[in-house]
Symmetry: C2
Amino acid sequence: MLYKGNIIHTIDKDTFEVFEKGYLMVQDGTIKEVGYDLHNKYPNEIVKDFEDHLIIPSFTDLHFHAVQYGNLGIGLDEELLDWLDMYTFKEEEKFSDLAYAKRIFDAAITHVIQSGTTRIVFFSSIHEAAAKLLVELCQGYGLTAFVGKVNMDRNASEGLQENTQQSIDITKRLLDIGDEFVKTIVTPRFVPSCTEDLMASLGELAKDDYPVQTHISENENEIEWVKSLHPDAQDYLDVYEQAGLIGKRTILAHCVFCTPDEKERIKRSGAYVAHCPTANFNLTSGIMDAKDYINRGIPIGFGTDVGAGQTPSIRQVMVHAIQMSKVNRMLDHHKEVISFSEAFYMATKGGGTYFGNCGNFEEGASADFLIIQPDKLAKVRNITVEEQLQRFIYSGNNNMIRYIYNRGNLLNSY
Amino acid sequence: MLYKGNIIHTIDKDTFEVFEKGYLMVQDGTIKEVGYDLHNKYPNEIVKDFEDHLIIPSFTDLHFHAVQYGNLGIGLDEELLDWLDMYTFKEEEKFSDLAYAKRIFDAAITHVIQSGTTRIVFFSSIHEAAAKLLVELCQGYGLTAFVGKVNMDRNASEGLQENTQQSIDITKRLLDIGDEFVKTIVTPRFVPSCTEDLMASLGELAKDDYPVQTHISENENEIEWVKSLHPDAQDYLDVYEQAGLIGKRTILAHCVFCTPDEKERIKRSGAYVAHCPTANFNLTSGIMDAKDYINRGIPIGFGTDVGAGQTPSIRQVMVHAIQMSKVNRMLDHHKEVISFSEAFYMATKGGGTYFGNCGNFEEGASADFLIIQPDKLAKVRNITVEEQLQRFIYSGNNNMIRYIYNRGNLLNSY
């Protein structure tokens, strides 16, 4: 199938490639070619002509608490540790009820897809059945996803406290459910929630390149807490390293206060950083210097971090990330801001590579793309295709996302 | 007419008042009463029952460049002074063409109303005919508004440079157009754009309590520029004070870097501050400490500052203001954040008082209100009326704004 429209994607973090009235050739769920005049090269293909609409890669979300979707946009006058007690844990306890879980997950996934995200890494709760259900729903909706049953055997609320062995057993039972596109991921919540025994056992699983996600260095009080729990550890990252949890299939959410030494070790490990600026603003956590991670060549993408983030829209998170980098520049004029192309790269390809060849339109990439209706205003004041993309990202809304394709399949249309 | 629904508004900056399934009694475009069981007290009134919808005051926008709407969401990789040269001035020059002006203004006002704003203070361009047109359009659409023909007789682009006398003459001619609800406002762009002669002449107009708006202390380079232009002035504010431009009918946009002494003089003058956090983030201008202005008791409301702000939505600006105050707290733990109630107060009543008795539901207030469809999620996870308002502000969208009333008149419905 050939898709025609104003195609724009990043070929690296600094470079957009634009094909006005260009073609995207899709075969067996992957991109075969992008360019001009492909209807001549492939004369037998059906052409779907989207005219003046933009064709862009779909978004990648590396960090989303599916079980916190019910808290969306509420209680954000609180800071992290209070907020966990007052909102998060109470809500997560409800996911022992599978009917409730289904209603929230359905609403969350629908909102994720409507926001243009087709690849996502979910935290679920501690509950086995809920995690299984979330895997099945991701399959049903056609997402590409990782789903993590959360492990927490200390410092949890009563209803969420696990027994260590049970936590390990459930995790193991879930290892091989799912399929090629929806898999489970080992998910120790964060150091304060997991004993060393638990983390070490989960680290054994990670040895076989099993994917892992967790939180690190989101908030200064949290870091102090980790220090008091592990006085002998070199730093926060060291606790995970000792447990064998850090490798090229690890996603580390936040990384706001990582030291230069931690950053170098993250780089050497090949782990991914999930930058969640929206949540960092909301929970008064800290000003992440994401540009430093980009400059160091550390793999980095975005997380909405729903419910600490108030939106499932990676589009909005991109803007928050640029704004947060501008805060860093205001505080230190030697720092550079995250450019629009860097932010778009992170939102698509940067996080996308965690899922394989995903996030732009190079040959062999997964055919994950969005059809974006141009702003009506573009008819009054002419702007370029790149400016139309800027306007969609900065000032647009989900109504402008007319069609959503993942692996060549149409997920949702309005 | 009685309007029934889940009513919520602020009675002061710290206090929400909620009437679940309450009534709003509106007569001759003003609020007569808000409370329970008013259908018994006013048995002859028609009841419009909005069931589980929220009824909230409409928003106030104290700072919006109508002529920059065509730049919405583009070019935001630049900082203030470069951005003015590359985007702003070029676009404003086009407003000598009245047909172009009409297309942009129509689109801008429609977007403003759809965003739930019914009271607004516009910057137009230098052009007399465009400013007149904007007044007429505001009347036609039913907004409550001030429209400023911009004055600039130095340091402008060629197409926007005015002759001093001509600038004054046009301003005077526009003084008395409009009506009770849509008026003009004296609008010296900012110090670098206006000679002392021009500012002094405009200050003469301000003596008669004529409304004035301008920019101040948005960016450190701008402040240096003002210092070099006026080496004998005590500070930036002093230049305006000398010209007689600062009084209780003055709106000062930005005020990011005002000194404690300037803040005290602003307070004594009774002038309003238009806080524009979105624009301040976008143009890497600075971290405004709006909470300090609140604590000092200085009248303060929000401006979207379109086009430096990427959205006409005061709802989104509220969130940016809370987030910016959290940045201040991250940098200095002694600082307090702006609470949700304070932000909502600023968005409605704080800026609303500039227009008279506007911005909440006290007796005699202008009947300016929005009917908000509750989030579908609220049916899955029960939340309070105040939490529903939080969700609308943080995570909602314009589609949820079902009806928009200004002075008792329905402006727009979907």
